[in-house]
Symmetry: C4
Subunit: 226 residues, 4 copies
């Protein structure tokens, strides 16, 4: 690697290691069951969590660098979900970050094979409508990656509920994918609680469109006008 | 601003920044989804959370000062809910603090469009009866503010469940509004759990009145008798 | 007070202040809604939480000393539940500690007016069978105290679910009452979850008796045999 | 004991004391209700939690060393569940660690006497299928131990739900048993949430076999190839 790529990789190792703290802060993971990765911009490389390592022990140094076929370039055994992350980066060039969790409420929808209907303005904002269900897929090849990509391609939602399995989210960078994972569990929980006692009120499709458009375009800190 | 107003604003920046910690302590918010504001007493000014900033990064300095039309007087982009806060301050001169959250149990009632019936003495104490439902309203104009004000005007409850959206609470100051937000989620949760397994017992209206009156007038530390 | 009583009161102020941390650790309370007290052994005195003070701000010094009619002997306004604590100490001389919470799962059973059936060996151990329901009672006189005492007198359970209100627990000292409050919420939660998906299996009364007897007599660290 | 055994025991005291932190971190226990033990490899000895001691006060020094009949060799009163741990070590020589909890969601399944069906790939990975129910058994003799051993012998699952009681897990060492206890509650919770709103989709037995085989053989950090 040249100096600039070395610098980028070092920064992403730190970012990816730190972002795992959001998974534990929001109780999205148990033991070592979730993982975050980031694409190295402009390179055929990604930075990902090592396999089976405690969240407390994750540091920039323990992160693993792989190529986009999941082959280790620098580090120990990468997450057992590396093939799925790699497939997403190969198939979706606009994606800069991928997150995987088994967060409980979202995974409960996944276990029933049910998409989460859009009953909340926060879901319209972040997901642009329902959070879709992906297929059942076994680990060990490209099946999970294919299921993620076929479900999310052309869909507004940055999250997919893989049937009987858990959540994969994507984003322009790793932080955006982590945010989508946090919000996915939050709306999955509220939607669960809402339906547990009756029938939630749907939001009109035009209102969902309006909310999604505004949120994607005007929310958050804007760069100062020039 | 004159010196006294400058001092008031500085104190409220600190208070508002700190009160956001109660939102995270009680798990009322995910990512950057809730906000607290305070009116600057006697001024056409309010202090509010900046937009899209992590709770860990909130400091007195990052708070935004706006006029009561939501125009920034000092700071960066204010919360995307600023228009709603500002509308409440313009319409309800007795209100000194406003809080907004998507806390899960309360928002589940909001997603079904159901007010929370008064099954708990703690709810009678703080809310004086049911916690009402406000209308569905899109963000971006005064619709949310109007829905809050029309629902809470003349109502005992300092909390409104905006349909498909979340909770807004008001108080004589920001701390009182935060307390209402914490108690709203607490009673929303207990009421949910109670009804999940059967039919809760109603509290007689006269008993609700008695509880509300006592709590509003005698609870808490009193100034020493003179 | 003589020196020995002064020493006892100082120690109990510290104990009672610290025990409130268990209420927040186990999420039994929101804002300032629960309280712990201890009888001063051999005296007509009790130590109790001040009214409306944040849990973070509780110290030995802020605790309030009252007589057993609830009149303040040393300190500021005591908990608004002081009359109920005092009534219990007057009526039940074997009780050395009282705790009150609105913990969510237990209060949900209270809102339905349902005792918690004994489906768990941990409940048989600590409560000796079902956790009973007490009457609806308004705050402000002796009604709550009378309801607690009439329900718990001659009952094995150290916890009562006061209808539409919350939990009161008793113990030989404040720590035992806090333990009962923690275990009450724990079994209320598990019993709720169990019944939410079907009909739990009852435990035979003779087995409940056997579990209760063993737990009350042999559990925990024993003093060394002499 | 010879020097090597003394060293092993000292290391296990530290390991067992520390592993209890995972029980509190994942909210698997209330007050003093769960316990971890480890077999001393090659010896007729085990290290176990003392009875009725707060988790905050557990240190390597407070751990109790017992023989495999549960008789104390070094320390104070051991956990009241010592007889069950000891029975497992006597009957299952491959087991190096045992954990017991009353974690809420798993114990709710136990209260209904229902095994947890395999609806999640994470459950297939760790448990190889359903998590089975063991018999109702009273504490105080070998009945609990016999129930654990008869249920888990020849079963893939390292966890058993003892009816009306709670969870026992086993592992090659104490850390593996703790992991099984954490994952048991995690899958019990997600399975509960999934079934609460409908019928989860089963995973085909051949897929469960495939997931279990892969996870047991290739997950986690591998020693470097030589």
């Amino acid at each position: 690697m040249n100096t600039e790529v070395t610098r980028q990789v070092a920064a992403l190792r730190d970012t990816v290691a730190r972002l795992h703290r959001e998974l534990t802060r929001y109780d999205l993971v148990a033991w070592t069951s979730g993982n975050v990765s980031a694409r190295v911009p402009g390179q055929e490389l990604m930075v990902i969590k090592p396999s089976g390592v405690d969240y407390d022990d994750l540091t920039a140094e323990t992160m693993v660098v792989c190529d986009l076929n999941g082959t280790v370039v620098d580090g120990t055994s990468p997450s057992s979900d590396t093939a799925a992350h790699a497939y997403v980066y190969r198939a979706m060039p606009e994606v800069g970050g991928v997150v995987h969790t088994h967060s409980g409420y979202a995974t409960a929808w996944a276990a029933r094979g049910e998409a989460i209907p859009c009953w909340l303005t926060a879901q319209a904002d972040e997901f642009g409508g329902e959070i879709p269900i992906g297929p059942f897929a076994l680990i060990g090849g490209d099946d999970i990656g294919k299921g993620i990509v076929s479900t999310l391609s052309g869909h507004r939602s940055p999250a997919v509920l893989m049937r009987n399995h858990g959540v994969f989210t994507i984003g322009k960078d790793a932080r955006a994918a982590v945010k989508a994972a946090v919000m996915c569990e939050d709306v999955a929980r509220t939607a669960h609680l809402a339906r547990a006692l009756g029938q939630p009120v749907p939001i009109a499709p035009a209102d969902i469109d309006s909310l999604y458009d505004r949120y994607q375009n005007v929310y958050g800190q804007r760069p100062p006008a020039h």
